[in-house]
């Protein structure tokens, strides 16, 4: 991890009508850091991520992602980031190889590069035997590891992972985290959301959003010490109990899962 800043947010805000989904959040994520972006359903995580990935214009505040401004340079942001979510990342009716080929094409990689990286992914994940199998026919755990590799295909500086391990078996979940560590050691910044609180402990630093604000930020060990709790799970529950929005209904833009 270097001192270089991969994500910088300052007073970042988004309102939907009278509802403030993200309320003046400020934080930095260093290059190569694994940053856990936690929060209750409806706390504003998804809205914040949509702003940071250039999909939604902020109402106020500023942010840069990989050095690009989130208001003016959204296309440059999209080139420099990768994204995967639990819900959608790969095309079910394309084969494993076709999915890799498609994303390689979207990101303008040369045929030679796509060929070389396809081989690398297939052998790293042990998926050579299913390279020509439709994605819908492979187990969820393989799919999720493949989706991460595809999100990293164009060697983005930052990758956003939205509940990437949801519903995955416990061994695959841990293999997935090793892929995250590998990417981080290669210098890629990782911003990840999860409902598995043990995974929060795998992050270099975490933030916990409550009612649109960042209620806590730091290394897991630091947060446990300063808040006098045994685990991030305990701290999360303590902080989330104070969230009036998450307890009731998600507001306008608060994405209810």
């Amino acid at each position: 991890m270097s001192d270089e800043v991969a994500i910088h947010a300052s007073g970042l805000t988004r309102t939907f009508g009278a509802f403030t989904a993200v309320d003046h959040i400020s934080f930095d994520v260093g290059a190569g850091e694994v940053f856990g972006f936690l929060g209750a359903n409806g706390a504003g995580k998804t809205t914040a991520i949509r702003m940071l990935t250039g999909l939604l214009a902020p109402s106020a505040g500023e942010a840069t992602v990989a050095g690009h401004d989130v208001y003016r340079e959204t296309e440059a942001i999209k080139r420099d980031i990768g994204y995967m979510s639990q819900r959608f990342s790969l095309y079910d009716d394309l084969t494993v190889r076709e999915n890799i080929r498609l994303y390689g094409g979207i990101y303008d990689l040369t045929d030679a590069t796509i060929r070389e990286r396809t081989q690398r992914i297939l052998s790293r994940l042990g998926l050579q035997h299913v390279e020509n199998t439709l994605v819908h026919a492979i187990p969820l755990g393989w799919k999720q590891k493949l989706a991460l590799s595809v999100a990293l295909l164009h060697e983005p500086r930052i990758v956003f992972l939205d509940e990437p391990t949801s519903g995955v078996d416990p061994i695959t979940r841990r293999q997935f985290w090793e892929l995250i560590y590998e990417a981080s050691h290669g210098g890629t910044t990782v911003l990840v959301t999860t409902h598995y609180m043990d995974e929060a402990e795998y992050c270099d630093r975490v933030s916990i959003m409550v009612a649109g604000r960042i209620a806590a930020i730091g290394t897991p060990a630091e947060l446990e010490r300063t808040h006098g709790v045994e685990s991030i799970d305990e701290l999360f529950v303590q902080l989330a109990r104070n969230d009036p929005n998450a307890r009731g209904a998600a507001g306008g833009g608060g994405a209810a899962a």
């Binding site: 929060g39 209750a40 359903n41 409806g42 639990q86 994940l125 042990g126 187990p139 969820l140 755990g141 393989w142 590891k145 509940e163 949801s166 519903g167 995955v168 078996d169 416990p170 061994i171 695959t172 841990r174 293999q175 985290w177 090793e178 560590y181 981080s184 050691h185 409902h195 598995y196 609180m197 043990d198 402990e201 795998y202 897991p220 060990a221 685990s231 799970d233 999360f236 529950v237 989330a240 109990r241 929005n245 998450a246 307890r247 009731g248 209904a249 998600a250 608060g254 209810a256 899962a257």
Partner: protein, 325 residues
């Protein structure tokens, strides 16, 4: 596979249930019993067959082989007698997003020939939390509140047994905790509750659990007994740099498994005759020799998740890189 005794007289009895979809075998012979008044959990990852099993038990799907009785009724032959006596909350949110909280609940009550008012005492512990939002569209509720509404709708006709398919999937840690507290309260009224979840830490909330993996039940017992059946010394390794430590341990001749686990690594040794103290001392020495700092190793009791992974690892045709991977 161990089968612990059911708490009361069995209210669910399944014998050799098999279900195939085209080339996929979703259920590969499941046999189990659930006792009256039990809070029984099916624990396992997506794709293991939990949803298929639930759909058979609630009469929505017919098995290809085997049989099941719920409340003494055969799930295929006696479906009309059984339907009104069971409550089912599907995994996918299946309420009407454009109806309000109150309208959804009123609708489900009317389908079973009753009203919210008449059933109020049954649903009050949960519905009281929703009442401040009763005029809100169900689609505009947060994930946790949607789950509570769905639970109310499954309970409003006073079922004798409740099937909840992954009620806490995708829900945040606080809402999950609150949901399990509700289930604990319902259980204390004598209701039999059958629940599925991919979250291993929720197993300890159940009286008994079945570990589900690729259409089979790997174990059925109390959570304590399943964890206690873990048959090797387990160490928690606290290290300065987890990733480097994991890489180093992959090359350690005595490593059986090493997994990140919260803020520590869980480690088992290849040697079956070494004491936990020896294993701890050797692992510490090895890691220090590999340049890993701040190493402490201590024997700990296994969790359900350790037990689950051990059984997965022991299963010959488990997918992907396994064991030490």
């Amino acid at each position: 596979m161990t089968t612990g005794p059911a708490a009361g007289a069995p209210v669910v009895q399944a014998q050799g249930l098999v279900k195939r979809f085209e080339t996929t075998t979703a259920l590969d012979g499941m046999t189990f019993e659930i006792g009256a008044g039990e809070l029984f959990g099916f624990i396992g990852p997506d794709g293991g067959g939990k949803t298929t099993l639930f759909r058979i038990l609630v009469t929505l799907l017919v098995p290809d082989a085997g049989s099941a009785r719920v409340l003494g009724c055969d799930v295929v032959r006696d479906l009309w007698a059984l339907r009104p006596r069971l409550g089912y909350m599907p995994g996918r949110f299946s309420l009407y997003p454009d109806l309000s909280v109150e309208e959804n609940l009123g609708f489900f009550a009317s389908v079973f020939g009753t009203t919210i008012a008449r059933e109020y005492d049954r649903i009050a512990p949960i519905y009281s939390q929703l009442e401040p939002f009763k005029a809100r569209r169900a689609g505009a509720l947060s994930g946790g509140m949607k789950q509570k509404l769905a639970l109310c709708c499954a309970l409003v006709h006073r079922p004798e047994i409740l099937f909840l398919d992954e009620p806490t999937t995708g829900v945040d840690a606080l809402s999950r905790r609150e949901f399990w507290e509700l289930l604990g309260r319902l259980r204390s009224t004598g209701l039999t509750i059958v629940v599925s979840t991919p979250y291993m830490d929720e197993a300890r909330r159940c009286d008994r659990v079945a570990l589900v993996q690729r259409g089979r039940l790997m174990a059925i017992d109390t959570p304590e007994a399943i964890a206690a059946a873990f048959d090797r010394p387990l160490l928690a390794l606290r290290v300065g740099e987890r990733y480097r430590a994991i890489r180093a341990l992959r090359d350690y001749e005595n490593t059986n498994t090493v997994y990140p686990f919260g803020d520590v690594l869980h480690f088992t040794d290849r040697r079956t005759d070494a004491s936990p103290e020896t294993i701890a001392r050797d692992a510490e020495a090895y890691l220090r020799g590999a340049g890993i700092e701040a190493v402490t190793a201590k024997p700990i009791p296994a969790t359900i998740e350790d037990a689950f992974m051990a059984r997965m690892g022991a299963d010959d045709d488990a997918p992907g890189e396994r064991g030490a991977a």
